[in-house]
């Protein structure tokens, strides 16, 4: 018997003990899918309600826009600062300049907005992020987002985030102290002329006792977490006109170095503008 035949025969024999309970595994998968669907629906509904409420209070024309669920066929709105407004948009992005809200309370309407230049090949999955990869692709590859982070999960496997102090340094220290992640030493940085601290944070692996890694929080139901480990986050913790904002570039493990760098380049084009709801 050749070594190939030996290997084939023995591997089959030695993995025969792996007999899954198929019905149990199927039920678990369907339950998880149902939970994720409910969570997504709740977030979309909450954000839509918040945006509609703020728009109505501010008397913004077209305030009913947020009543509609995210519409994949809709084109982004280009009414803000000459840049195309991403909020509420889901779909591929034409290369160009976009205005993105921070992912915070009230849909980020009271916070400075980020205007950024997006090259070809990106999409947005709801309007609060520029996403790499593409809708319908096997895996999302990365994203650029802006967060008004108020809490950090001291342990990404725990479900309770801890409030952090108000300074840039408070937040940088909370992130570097997070267990289960590795971080670079925070260093001074400026982005769009706003001073801040920059660090890189890499998540560890998920495992049976911890299938989701929660990192930070910016408002009720606005937690950043992933069910994939090994994601590298580039974080600019900035003082934007007395508001602490975090520009987060999250690079997934499957990205090539060029894709990884392109997301960083996109983040570095950010120019902050006035809040829409102020």
């Amino acid at each position: 018997m050749s070594i190939d035949e030996q290997l084939r025969t023995r591997l089959v024999a030695e993995t025969e003990h792996l007999v899954p309970d198929l019905e149990l595994e199927l039920a678990r998968t369907l339950r998880r899918a149902q939970r994720r669907r409910h969570a997504r629906t709740a977030v979309v509904a909450a954000v839509a309600a918040a945006v509609a409420g703020v728009a109505w209070l501010a008397g913004v024309p077209g305030a009913d826009r947020a009543d509609r669920p995210v519409d994949p066929a809709r084109s982004p709105d280009s009414s803000i600062t000459g840049a195309t407004d991403l909020v509420g948009y889901r779909g591929p992005l034409e290369p160009g300049r976009y205005s993105m809200a921070a992912w915070g309370p009230d849909g980020g309407t009271t916070l400075p907005r980020a205007v950024l230049e997006v090259p070809e090949g990106y999409f947005s999955n709801g309007g609060w992020a520029v996403d790499a990869g593409g809708p319908g692709e096997i895996e999302q590859l990365g994203e650029v987002m802006v967060w008004p982070v108020t809490h950090v999960f001291t342990d990404p496997c725990d479900t309770r985030p801890a409030r952090v102090g108000p300074t840039l340094r408070d937040l940088a220290l909370a992130l570097t102290d997070q267990t289960g992640t590795t971080t670079t030493r925070p260093r001074p940085v400026t982005l769009d002329g706003h001073r801040g601290l920059y660090l890189e944070l890499t998540t560890g692996a998920t495992h049976a006792g911890c299938t989701r890694l929660d990192l930070w929080h910016s408002a009720p139901d606005n937690d950043y977490g992933q069910d994939t480990g090994g994601i590298v986050h580039h974080l600019w913790i900035l003082d934007v006109d007395d508001t602490r904002l975090v520009v987060a570039v999250s690079n997934y493990p499957d990205q090539t170095p060029a894709q990884h760098q392109e997301l960083i380049d996109i983040a570095e084009t950010i120019h902050f503008t006035e809040p829409t709801g102020s």
Binding site: D4, L7, L18, T29, R36, G204, A205, T228
Partner: protein, 166 residues
């Protein structure tokens, strides 16, 4: 999702899950993590099942997602282990008391994946290459090195190593 789509998904799940689990187990050598990675892949498949993007070969798709995720996790575990940042991830006690599965555990993660897909799942080299996102020649190289190493470990004469994947 329509009832007929649900039935189709369940059929794919029942027919594919066991073999995908075997593959991820041989890469990760931890049944808990293998089940987790496999279930995640099927969850992603389910979420696309009723969508607008049609997946022509769902079994191959889910095997690709699971295999790549397992390789990623195995690489990360290696890096963390070598950096001394993680507990002993290679849970030897969880392995069955057999030589070959332990020997496979000593290979690089992508070699393990190539061995699992080629020997265990009996897939042709070209398909293994597609699933791993590498060229066929890279897969052949992985298999050649893995086979030589396994043969040595199993006390077989290196001269017995054949080259039937070429």
């Amino acid at each position: 999702m329509r009832r007929s789509q649900q039935v189709e998904f369940e059929w794919v799940f029942r027919s594919t899950y066991p073999s995908v689990l075997r593959t991820t187990f041989l890469i990760l050598h931890d049944r808990g993590r293998a089940e987790e990675v496999t279930q995640d892949a099927f969850l992603h498949l389910y979420e696309r099942w009723g969508g607008v993007v049609h997946i022509d070969h769902p079994s191959a798709w889910v095997r690709k997602v699971a295999t790549r995720a397992a390789v990623r996790q195995a690489r990360l575990a290696r890096v963390r282990r070598s950096a001394g940042q993680d507990e002993e991830v290679m849970a030897w006690d969880q392995l069955p008391d057999v030589d070959l599965v332990r020997a496979v555990a000593s290979l690089a993660p992508q070699q393990r994946a190539a061995v699992a897909l080629y020997y265990l799942e009996d897939l042709p080299v070209e398909e293994v290459a597609h699933l791993l996102g590498v060229s066929a020649s890279t897969v052949k190289q992985h298999l050649h090195r893995a086979r030589a190493r396994l043969a040595t470990m199993l006390s077989a004469s290196p001269e017995e190593v054949t080259h039937d994947v070429d």
